[in-house]
Symmetry: C2
Subunit: 758 residues, 2 copies
């Protein structure tokens, strides 16, 4: 069996362990900080995770030796912690565990697992994933399996060589009050605890002395709840105090034995959880409550572990470097932590929350998640497309400016942890005429469980020229490309026919925004005085402005390809032809912009972005590749670049990429070798780097050049460190400023790295 | 009209403003800390409250001048705050309000109001209270009025002498994400905001230029939501950003005008909120949701303000000192903040949460709340008594010790913020025989919305000799006394007859615990090796041990009085007589313990508590006083002390109290003049001091002695400072260690001070 190899770099980083669609994570791994079970939040939970063993039986005075997942394990916030957890008259209880030191343990991180080993102790968390079942098609059993809002873990202690009993334990010390013992019947020999009505754990005990299969020990583990893990384990008379903050499980392992507990960690949020539209978790249709969830998770644990190991094995077997595999695994863990499958008006409603920001179904993320989702559960993509049309589409006009304009502010390096610059006054005052626009889609559907009013995002504001402005053109492309990918993968022409009017409106809207060149020339009137921006919202001028932006131009080209193929399916030859012409036109204009083999980021000489060199210029090439690979295009990738202008654009983009990657001044690389998306900004997005690398390999085959292969290899190593060192508390992090996760943390979007598996 | 006078001491202290039974507080008043709306928590909320005005219209660049209810108003935690509130790319927005300085504003604190005035600005919060309506008797309209989970506030700005427009605003800056604009229809000219589904505010605008009555301005206030109050007020284009953390209301006041907004601040928690027993808020029967609550609060605001002012007036008119009135007002505010009226199994379920600890219906608090509750809504007391019988009673045996015992640890000064001492090993090892015990009641019904398993409290543990041990004897007295008071007030003999078996069992249980002397001699077997304690759980030996404790002895005497009168109602002459004899016997034994005119706290010479002098010795005298005053006893107080032994006990207790209060060494007073309940401990409970003072005045009339009247007067002043200075963040605080609120904070129990109004 191909197992995930132990990690060799920094082991202290958080991983999210999440079921599918429950907006829940069990998070641990970063030393000395809180984590545990977090629900509906864009950051790790508020529990200390105590995990370890001591010599002697449970009542012995031995000191617990624990993995360093509690605050006092790192000499830093212990004092604050003590004040925080203070309870009635038990306030100054000192955590009396000793942490394992680095070097005393290993960590193996798989696609669906995370395994820590130290001195006979083994802790593994499993979060298998797969197809999220479609409630309109699947039976109850499959729905319960697929939507089970729980992960499973195993804590094993090998005492086969020991001379006396050892005691192992797992506990969560909560910062908020409300822990309790779960009194419900969980099955024979099983015990449980909970936090109020919303989350909890359950465990059962096995003897693994004679092998991995294990033999159930009916006596089961013991459950405790005091103000500290060590107290709970040791107290002979009152192991459970209902006022305690730290519930947990323990078990004694006699000399000569290897015992382990299987732990289910789950959640259950009943009733409406969202506003604007009343949404409850779809899993509440299939589970009666928390006890049902935890019982089921223990019942299914064996299957879940096997499924997780199979996934680990699959990733381990991929022809990728260790760093690449790590990034894919890490991205997958965080992706599922942001997923939320609701039921609104008795219909399923798919939401991916935007990491730390918790914006709901941010469309410029959705378009990146689409490859993964179509691989696993295409129906959620259809659900998303429909919900955007039904609730979060709008019609605008466009602003045709009647004066020339050059930005008054200089290209600037923006740190997303700093206040964005004020709007560009020159732009705000620029006169314009209104012309017809058309359909587009909101940036998102709301934030933090608050659906925004219909036709409006939580993010976008008028009269801005940078961050928080409208992304009308880009979101139009995003819906078109997502729809194209959906049809490419599923060939669901029934759905496409139902959306014919939308697809037609999208083409019209693209054209209205495009002037003579075929891609974004005007801003939406929704901006009022402001201007549209791109998804790279805190980058510099090279990617802020939508108009005449090379990234948007190529993405528009790809959108015409998607539209063309959809009109082909719809039998609309005339519009198919129109799209073909527009694609060719855009390609010609883009190609014409190259200077010395390189494309400017903004095709406006007076714009500071004109001097910027950006790698996302090629991002749009991803989509035709997908249309070809799925067989939908019906021809090879060569034919995508079959027209003279498209062939020319291909060459220009390839050369642009080659030059940027091999730039002797290394303007598109960070000092550590990581990829710098714009030559003029220290902001980089890992999710976008992943797409860029994929296109570079699979469209342009530039990695055949050993020099570029080496650049990529070094970049992968740097990218892994961005996660494990630069952003260790925040699990998978997208937006990196010079190697440090400054924004877009705890983020789903890096799932684009799974493209590398193709 | 008698108005509450402005306070003259420290103005910086938190007040809870709470509806009845909603476990909700709008808390503000302490400078530089967070507060706002807090739900189901034992501490202030997590919002900064911005309240103030600026010169100019809303778009002007004037700086907001605010009351100091936000963190940066006190130069302390501003840095931490900035990191905490950081949102997408708007992180370093500095709060740009200037706080009013002390001396620039006044505060008047009434029974149901809190009014701040500064330079034409006036902010008043109103929390009228009254009878909580009984759902079995009252109609829907009354239920909606009584259970409305909201308070109302008014923010007025007097610009009658101004030369130009001024702009006033109210905003709540949330630490947690999830703020939103309330889009629901609230009525003409009304706007609202909310926090997720659970809480929110609504406002409407009035012109008060021509008088207090006000004339509605249909245009209404404006609503905003940005990352700071000042931004929200000032932004011309995007006053609402759905990602903002700080929603609020504002209004412009033209020169020559006085305008004001009425603000409703309410909550709505739907679905089951408790575990163990599934409980939802009873108000959900009568309100459809948050918008319904806020709309109704604005509709009723006029009546609510009138009701609040009438209550203010009533307290202001009482023949009490300003300090006494303050304590009663402060206690009432906090009492309602802890109240929670649920519906379990379609029946109402009354809960008072224990302040910061959130233990549910702690019975040794309930017995103190009973005077207030019987005055306002006796049915909740019946509800409580029934629920204790049904769910939280138990039967035990008692331990008859077979060896003598003296505590091994010395009398010690215990600080409740420190770990309690370990159990007394000598006690744990003491041999005993089991004898029949009987019925008693749990310390509480659970904690933090988690009902504990039937027959078990969240607090009590076995094998302890101090804090967290069982209170079996005391809780038995508490149920009996509560039942006695309920019958005394209501003469509900129908109920009493239904509880005949319980009342009989209580007498039997009292007798089984009492040996030859008639009061607590044995500990419950529930203690295992431990011993029972009293409600004074973190005091020293003088009040820790239940056996042979003067406080428990006199409380037992009172319990026999309650039982005697209940058996009289039940026509059980034989048991009535038995109770009479037992009361006389206890009185004789107590009287015999006096040495030099003073009673030892513990009637055991080897016990360190023997040397302690405690004022709560007289607490039990409260109940016969109540039975007399309600007319239930059917005779005067003199006849209570009619038997020779009871007359003797009266004299002994009076002399004991007199000597302690006038002790030249001032061992029962703190340096500041506050009352020290035990001569050997610095722990004092304000709720118990209130009862003690009441008994001293109304039973013993010792305040007729000018020396004692002076002691009390100085004590009242000290007690007020304990609240306003020593415990200012924690609103009303019960357990004071040398003038500082160290435990039992944010507490309901001080409502006993309302006895002074009699």
């Amino acid at each position: 069996m191909t197992k995930s190899a132990p990690l060799s770099g920094q082991l202290s980083f958080n991983a999210q362990h999440s079921p599918m669609g429950a907006f829940m994570s069990f998070t641990c791994g970063n030393f000395g900080t809180r984590g545990g079970i977090g629900l509906q939040i864009g950051q790790p939970g508020d529990q200390e995770v105590f995990l370890g063993y001591k010599d002697g039986d449970r009542y012995s005075d031995g000191t617990l030796k624990c993995l360093p997942f509690y605050t006092a394990a790192v000499n830093r916030s212990a004092d604050a912690f003590l004040v925080e957890q203070a309870g009635p008259a038990e306030q100054n209880v000192k955590p009396d565990a000793t942490p394992f030191q680095e070097g005393e343990f290993t960590r193996s991180y798989g696609w669906a697992s995370d395994v820590w080993e130290a001195d006979g102790l083994r802790f593994s968390v499993y979060s298998p994933f797969g197809a999220i079942p479609d409630p309109e098609k699947e039976n109850r059993r499959r729905m319960r399996e697929g939507l089970l809002p729980a992960v499973v873990a195993r804590l094993e202690l090998d005492n086969t060589k020991g001379k006396s009993t050892r005691t192992a334990m797992f506990a969560l010390n909560h910062a908020r009050p409300g822990s309790r013992i779960l009194e419900a019947d969980l099955g024979k020999g099983r015990v449980g605890f909970a936090f109020r009505r919303e989350a909890g754990g359950a465990a059962e005990l096995f003897d693994y002395t004679k092998g991995e299969k294990g033999k159930k020990i009916d006596a089961g583990p013991f459950v405790f709840m005091r103000w500290s893990a060590s107290d709970g384990v040791r107290k002979r008379y009152n192991p459970v105090h209902l006022l305690g903050s730290c519930p947990g499980f323990g078990f004694e392992v006699p000399a000569g034995k290897r015992y382990g507990i299987t732990i289910a960690l789950g959640s259950y949020l009943e009733g409406f959880q969202t506003n604007g539209m009343d949404g409850r978790y779809l899993y509440t249709r299939y589970f009666k409550g928390l006890a049902d969830v935890l019982r089921t998770a223990l019942d299914n644990a064996g299957k879940m572990v096997i499924a997780a190991k199979a996934l680990d094995e699959k990733l381990a077997a991929a022809h990728l470097s260790a760093e690449q595999k790590f990034l894919i695994a890490h991205a997958t863990h965080s992706y599922y932590g942001s997923t939320q499958l609701l039921e609104v008006d008795k219909k399923p409603f798919w939401v991916v929350n935007e990491g730390e920001y918790c914006m709901m179904n941010t469309l410029d993320l959705s378009v990146d998640h689409v490859f993964w989702e179509l691989e696993h559960n295409p129906w959620v993509v259809r659900n998303l497309l429909d919900n955007f049309v039904r609730h979060y589409s709008y019609k605008d006009e466009v602003k045709v400016y009647t004066s020339e304009f050059a930005p008054t502010t200089e290209t600037m390096q923006m740190d997303p942890s700093q206040t964005p610059p004020p709007p560009d006054e020159a732009q705000l005052k620029r006169p314009y005429e209104k012309k017809p626009g058309g359909i587009s889609f909101c940036h998102d559907m709301g934030a933090h469980n608050n659906f925004s009013p219909q036709g409006r995002s939580s993010y976008e504001l008028a009269n801005l020229t940078g961050c928080f402005s409208y992304m009308t053109q880009e979101q139009l492309c995003n819906w078109v490309l997502t729809a194209g990918c959906y049809v490419a993968k599923t060939r669901d022409t029934h759905w496409l026919k139902g959306q014919r009017h939308v697809v037609e409106a999208c083409l019209e809207s693209m054209i209205h925004r495009s002037g003579d060149v075929g891609f974004s020339q005007f801003d939406s009137t929704r901006c009022a005085g402001g201007q549209e921006i791109t998804t790279y919202d805190s980058l510099d001028h090279s990617l802020a402005q939508t108009r005449n932006n090379v990234y948007i131009a190529v993405k528009s080209w790809a959108s015409y390809w998607a539209l063309k193929l959809m009109f082909r399916e719809l039998g609309d030859g005339s519009r198919q032809k129109r799209c073909e012409e527009l694609a060719a036109k855009v390609a010609a204009v883009v190609s014409d912009q190259a200077v010395d083999g390189v494309l400017p980021a903004i095709f406006e000489k007076a714009n500071p972005g004109y001097a910027s060199r950006i790698l996302p210029a090629v991002e749009g090439c991803m989509y035709p590749l997908y249309f070809v690979n799925t067989g939908w295009a019906g021809h090879s990738l060569d034919e995508v670049y079959g027209s003279p202008s498209e062939r020319r654009m291909f060459e220009v983009l390839r050369e642009h990429t080659r030059r940027l990657l091999l730039d002797p001044e290394r303007r598109n690389l960070f000092a550590d070798g990581g990829i710098k998306l714009s030559s003029t900004s220290n902001n980089s997005w890992m999710s976008k780097i992943s797409i860029f690398m994929h296109v570079t390999r699979r469209v342009f085959h530039l990695d055949a050049d050993p020099a570029i292969a080496e650049v990529f290899q070094k970049a992968d190593a740097a990218h892994m460190k961005w996660q494990t060192e630069g952003s260790s508390y925040w699990a998978c992090c997208d937006q990196i400023v010079s190697g440090e996760g400054k924004a877009s943390r705890y983020y789903p979007r890096i799932i684009t790295s799974a493209l590398w598996l193709e």
